[in-house]
Amino acid sequence: MKNEEIKELIQLIDQSSLTHFEFQNASASLKLSKRDADSTNQTLDSVQASEQVSTLKQESKAKQTEKTEMEVDSVEVENAEDESFHLIKSPIVGTSYLSSSPDSEPFVKAGDTVEEGQTVLIIEAMKVMNEIKSDIKGTVEEISVEDGQAIEFDQTLIKIKAT
């Protein structure tokens, strides 16, 4: 599950009348509950007691902390690290091929420099050879799949550090 998707989900729940929400799939589990902070309805009057201001600040801070915790909980550490890499994901369900034929060298290896438009691997499906080319220039950080592996839609195939 992507960070963006989680943020979007939190926003949707935030705007809804729901006070509690739970979600689970293979990559993440998410529990959201709204506390009755009412902070959005509060207006700050300049003459309000400083005590009240500090309470509000604390409350909003608590809410923020809660959100941060939810994000950290739900996103795998590995995913969080990926933010700094460009991920090439599979556009299609199929089988991965890391070289053009069984006896040839792989298209790319970790550490290789790739140019924009360079072939990085092939996803085969029903005898359709889908050649995946890099959409950026960079260094291959990791080949995330094996030769001959069954690949799902949107699965990360290769991580590239942009240069």
């Binding site: 299609i92 199929g94 959409d135």
Partner: protein
């Protein structure tokens, strides 16, 4: 239109009759001696021309753009056609020049030096004995539809071939005649990251190859339409018919997203259904009965050892008869 292409066209039109050097010279506005030089040159380059006492004829009609275009009733498939005398492979050429070519462009070659089809490799044969063709399409579609283009193309090809031979489909991409492969489909697509640049529909058909031009090792697995039916194939009429069927089937699929019309044809013409085959995976080989093709284009098989029925769609499997190709 080069003088060569016009000469080939004239010989195609008069096939199987001969044309004299004088007749050709008149048509082409050349000297007779130039016609003789030209035909000798084409013969040197492996074109199937026989010349005797200034009379020339083709052993069989060969691919000619003039003959394909005449009566090609399509709206965009084949609107642009390119014919090369020799290419490594039409698919490789189409891929290298993908950005330059519009949707519907057709690349043809009289001769392929390293075709990708497993059975077509390293054949040395006279020019024009097979059709090597790639069609470029650039659809805006859900990518999940792409894998079924193989069976869509197989269905279009069967429609084009059925009037000349009793063909069947070996799921998902080979065309079979008398239990031998006579045509194959290889589709290649190109993505930049997650953006589709285009799809190349590659087709090879063994039309007029003679048995003795095929390597011994392939004779029990592969053949040509002419070798099986003993009738010469007009490659231009066949290409034209395929392009018309393909455009119809492709447009229908793009519009409706429904694969059932071509999948039911693939089921009807299946060479596998109802028979027993060895299903070979990475580390196993199991006997199975082929049941049908499901709505996702997968082959449904029932294994003999466990009696379990499974839908196969992976390249990890290859299908073979017990002791023959099919």
């Amino acid at each position: 239109m080069t003088i060569e292409e016009r000469l080939i066209h004239l010989l195609n039109v008069s096939y199987p009759k001969t044309l004299t050097s004088l007749e050709l010279a008149d048509e082409l506005d050349l000297e007779e001696s130039s016609v003789d030089n030209l035909t000798a040159d084409l013969k040197d380059r492996n074109y199937p021309i026989t010349s005797h006492k200034q009379k020339h004829r083709l052993a069989y009609p060969v691919v000619s753009l003039l003959d394909i275009k005449k009566g090609l009733e399509t709206t965009f498939i084949g609107e642009t056609l390119h014919l090369h005398s020799t290419l490594r492979s039409t698919n490789a050429y189409a891929k290298e020049n993908l950005s330059k070519h519009r949707e519907g462009t057709v690349i043809l070659a009289q001769e392929q030096t390293s075709g990708k089809g497993r059975l077509g490799r390293n054949w040395s044969s006279p020019m024009g004995g097979s059709i090597s063709m790639s069609v470029i399409v650039k659809p805006r579609i859900d990518f999940a539809k792409i894998p079924l283009l193989t069976q869509l193309t197989a269905a279009s090809l069967v429609k084009a071939l059925e009037s000349i031979a009793d063909v069947k489909i070996k799921w998902p991409n080979d065309i079979i005649l008398n239990r031998k492969k006579i045509a194959g489909i290889l589709i290649e697509s190109e993505f930049r990251g997650d953006s589709l640049s285009g799809i190349i529909i590659g087709i090879g058909i063994n039309t007029n190859l003679n048995k003795h031009n095929m390597p011994d090792s392939f004779r029990d697995k592969a053949s040509s339409v002419k070798a099986e039916t003993h009738t010469v194939v007009d490659p231009n009429a066949l290409i034209q018919s395929f392009l018309i069927h393909f455009e119809n089937d492709y447009l229908a699929y793009m519009t409706t997203g429904d694969p059932s019309p071509f999948l039911s044809l693939c089921t009807e013409y299946s060479a596998l259904i109802g028979k027993d085959y060895w299903v070979t995976g990475k580390d196993h080989k199991r006997k199975a009965t082929v049941k049908t093709i499901d709505s996702f284009g997968r082959l449904v098989v029932t294994y003999h050892d466990t009696n379990v029925t499974e839908a196969i769609n992976s390249s990890a499997f290859s299908i073979r008869g017990a002791d023959s190709y099919i």
